[in-house]
Symmetry: D2
Subunit: 348 residues, 4 copies
């Protein structure tokens, strides 16, 4: 299958390429970047040197539809609205990595992004790209919108709790910690000011909240509100979501394991983590670098009736490029794990 | 004033020494360490080379009471019970940096530490060493027990909210992030396994919870329960507490500022942080390294009626040695900021 | 092919396993660890959870020769002498990752390691495992000894210079920088004391010097001495060798490129790096994490007639496990890149 | 004494301010920054919040000479040429932290910086600001130019060797490792691309080479050439210079210690480091953060007749702001250590 990548010079585009260039069923036929037209891909993505002789080309929809069976769009939020529509109208299959087609309700773009969506009628054409929740729709879809990295990590931990009606829906606190690659290649803080931070940003009203609420509400069949606060910490890759919830009723560890197992037993990219000793008692993105897993675990704080659901991922993999290719595999009818079943690098 | 340090080879003991060796009113007359008896202090504390020719001696209570007006005990939890008692019985003034005399209720040692306190009648002799809460008692006390690093950081943010009866007391979630020096010199994980972690540890029932509950309950006049979960992140020094709370009634930012200002206006080691732009909109321990400040800020999440109270500190300073010397200054009648009013190092 | 790993609980053993568990031609049939007998492999290697159900077994030579076609030994230096001999005597093919069979001259063990080799007659049976230098011998060998991580990285940059008689052999300065995983799982410094270091260790007489001298001397046909000084820096994976040399005669950049290209053009794990702009002008292990490449580049300092040959690698890959499997592929007659041709993770 | 700082919004300006605001004999009367005129200083320097209510003003030479007894200029290289001259012509005492008045020979600006110095006749008015070398001249000078951070660190290790004619002058290799704050506040690489690097930059012809050669040549009384190569590593603050030299004659450790002691015994900001065990056998900037020390040590590689002279510093302290204030103290007749004798923070 021939695929193209629009916006191939950023971190997410680079990760999509890293995976696709080794994917047994895919040929990367086209990469675009406004900044780098005509240059070798490896100039912007030094790690890919010796893996490809591709050069960046301009975004030419005509050529793209001639040369590509499927397209990944990895451009900044707000920039994808037109590109995705143009590709869609040409009948192409698209996997969008921006936020521009994640929210189904047009009003949510006003609320979370502060702008009006120019093509609200296209929002319903898009499937929210979490295979563990929407595999069937993804399979049939022409347009899949990959979730935000913190959103998918949190949703995968919380969704079984909502589905099983276990938790107080008024007090769902998602405390997220994320590495610097999450900011994207164009938006990073200089090392001297970013190293060593434990920096809250947008403690209220972070945009990913909208996606989490959308998905959990859909599961619940009623409006669920989420209290999310992200923090920048000193790693490059990695997300930990500490999902603090309060139990509606008494439930013990065993029952909870059963619920999670029932939900995820067949899922090849979800691992349930709980050890009694060692350094890996709970999910930790340290042990996920380079892999497409979302690790999930939990602890129960009986004194407070609190259930702490912990979920971790590599924000460029399960949080972006890995999920994108998982979606591609589903859309193309390949084995879902093809080209993305890597074990994490440890230690790194 | 002559002071001694029992347990001067660890991180906290080292930080106490760093500060005392430059303190204008103090002479360090004695340092002990079982491991290092007879060696130069700077062998175990390489940063202090050229600042002192002290050698480690054995813990000899007789000599200590002859040579010291005040003693800091910086030994591991559980080890201080006897040492502090022995010094106390000799009539010495003591500033204890372990957890052994922090909790007033003997039963709490069973609950949080899993052992019975051998000298429960001494617990009431000890004042909990947060000057911002207990300055008067500290001034008169013979024994001050310095708070846990995460505890003091969290308490300082939460106490005004409890005092003013602003928050739902059933849903106080303290999500803490802490650096590796918090583990102490004897207990650290090797760099390759610790670098890059975002590792939950004790998501339920962390020991510092007991101290937070003790202090907030005392303020409230009724039992307050706290849901605390700490996380190890990749810094050496620094704590951020994200205190997620839910407001009992509508209150806007201005009113909250007034409440915090009323509480802390006279406090020289508390800074209220809120900027509209830049990299320091909220408290971040990155900008506190080497200083004794606790920075406090907040954000309001109206959608969820949530108040996120953020507090940050250097765990070896305000979280340990800095607080200890602040307490010493008060006990000795010195200016409270003497020898500890340093601006943070930035960038570091 | 069935392979066993002796000493599978360390960093190098873990990396060998990570690679072998995805290798298309290999089945891991046995893993041993004295500490962990009977436990699941993933308990000690958390990243491998869901990739294998193997358990650690005892080191039983009988079972090993029944169950394995080839064995990797990844035990601490000094421990491998007997194990390797025992396996060798059973006629097994061995890839040793310790230093115990690297040096051909028995006296060198006295000089660099301070002990006498118990089986000096076995040293000549071992081939030094750098395929780029000894591919033919490796192919025929029963025992391959993988080079030290800093040694191989330095040798690959220096060997063409020696071979072409370009540099002053009296002043070869190798200044190496290495991450914390190089110390091994059993020997690391705690994070708080290791983070942020730029720490010289063994500025004179580091053990890897012996290997570099052995290999360069063999190439030169005369004794070559090397001045090596390693430094610990704050990364987990990665080595940079700055090989400072002085040119015997005038030579320009183009000619040097020709020489390096002639040497390495066919080598699939060596990349020559030199860009005029961007962040990847010269080799940097940042852009090699998880890959088996050794990146080589250089700069000429005309004022001083100095040639700075730069080489970088991932110390657990080309510096250990990656090289080991490259050697295995050669010994087994597989494609040399099978199971190890991964692009680096970036950013990480 | 009243002092002003021109260019107070960068890292060096911030560090000068941190120190001066606690300096017992100094009042900061004026700070300028083109970008921030009218804003509170702490907006750009968040660590200084609560230490000053100063606001940034424009650079008005008239007001500056009315309000300041001495001025620090901490503006980018190339920008200081005119500012320093204008202040000098008004008769003011200046401590310049740029490179613009470091080199005495006007031709060196062409060689190392690629531009012609507009005021070559002012170069001789400037004293190179290393007190350990030029204390007397500094005392009498109107203009002191502070050395480059890597230059001063290297010079202090090498100067005694040159002075005592110990080393082969044709093969002086300075391999430097430096943190990200050295790039300045305006020039940093984003964290995701800077974290974890071991990145060579300018392996040949780095600008600081010119300063080292100037100073060593002056000591030697003949032209000395230096082979310097800097590397970016993952710390924020800190420099290690590994000065590889080759001994002209046999000399043992004791004699070398004597030479270094003779040179630096009276110097309060130089410490000689050599331990037989522990983590601080050799200089390491990890143990210098926040202090004005230059730590010096060495090792002898007898096999190669090599002397490895190691020197470490905090690049913002001894490498910039600390040295600047040391110079100020000398110029003003204060005790040389006033306001800068801090012990390093450890661990950090």
């Amino acid at each position: 299958m021939k695929v193209g990548i629009v916006g191939a010079s950023g971190y997410v585009g680079g990760e999509v390429l890293r995976l696709l260039l080794s994917h047994p069923k895919v040929e990367v036929s086209m990469v675009t970047s406004r900044q780098h037209v005509g240059k070798f891909l490896y100039k912007a993505q030094p790690s890919l040197r010796s893996f490809t002789d591709l050069k960046f080309s301009e975004l030419d929809y005509e050529k793209m539809s001639d040369n590509c069976d499927m397209v990944f769009t990895a451009v900044p939020h707000g920039t994808a609205t037109e590109i995705v529509k143009a590709l869609y109208d040409r009948g192409m299959k698209i996997i969008d990595l921006s936020a521009d087609y994640r929210l189904h309700n047009p009003e949510d773009y006003g609320k979370w992004y502060g702008w009006e969506h120019p093509h609200p009628d296209y929002l319903e054409k898009s499937v929210f790209g979490i295979p563990e929740l929407h595999r069937k729709e993804i399979k049939k879809s022409q347009l899949v919108s990959c979730p935000g990295c913190m959103a998918v990590t949190s949703i995968l931990a919380l969704n079984p709790l909502i589905k099983n009606n276990l938790i107080d829906e008024e007090h769902i606190v998602v405390d997220s910690k994320i590495g610097s690659s999450g900011a994207g290649a164009g938006a990073g803080t200089a090392h001297a000011m970013r190293a060593g931070v434990i920096r809250p940003y947008k403690p209220a009203k972070h945009r990913h909240t909208g996606e989490i609420e959308q998905e959990l509400s859909q599961t619940a069949g009623r409006k669920i509100k989420v209290s999310m606060s992200p923090h920048a910490v000193d790693v490059v890759r990695g997300i930990l979501c500490t999902n603090h919830t309060f139990l509606k009723k008494d439930i013990d560890e065993k029952e909870l394991w059963k619920i999670y197992r029932a939900e995820y037993n067949e899922e090849r990219f979800i691992r349930l983590i709980r050890d009694k000793d060692g350094l890996h008692k709970f999910p930790d993105p340290k042990f996920l670098v380079g892999s497409n897993f979302c690790d999930i675990g939990f602890d129960i704080d009986k004194d407070n009736n609190r259930l702490i659901a912990l979920s971790a991922s590599d924000n460029l993999m399960k949080g972006a490029a890995g999920s994108a290719i998982q979606n591609m595999n589903i859309m193309a009818g390949f084995d879902e794990v093809e080209g993305i079943m890597y074990s994490p690098l440890t230690p790194v």
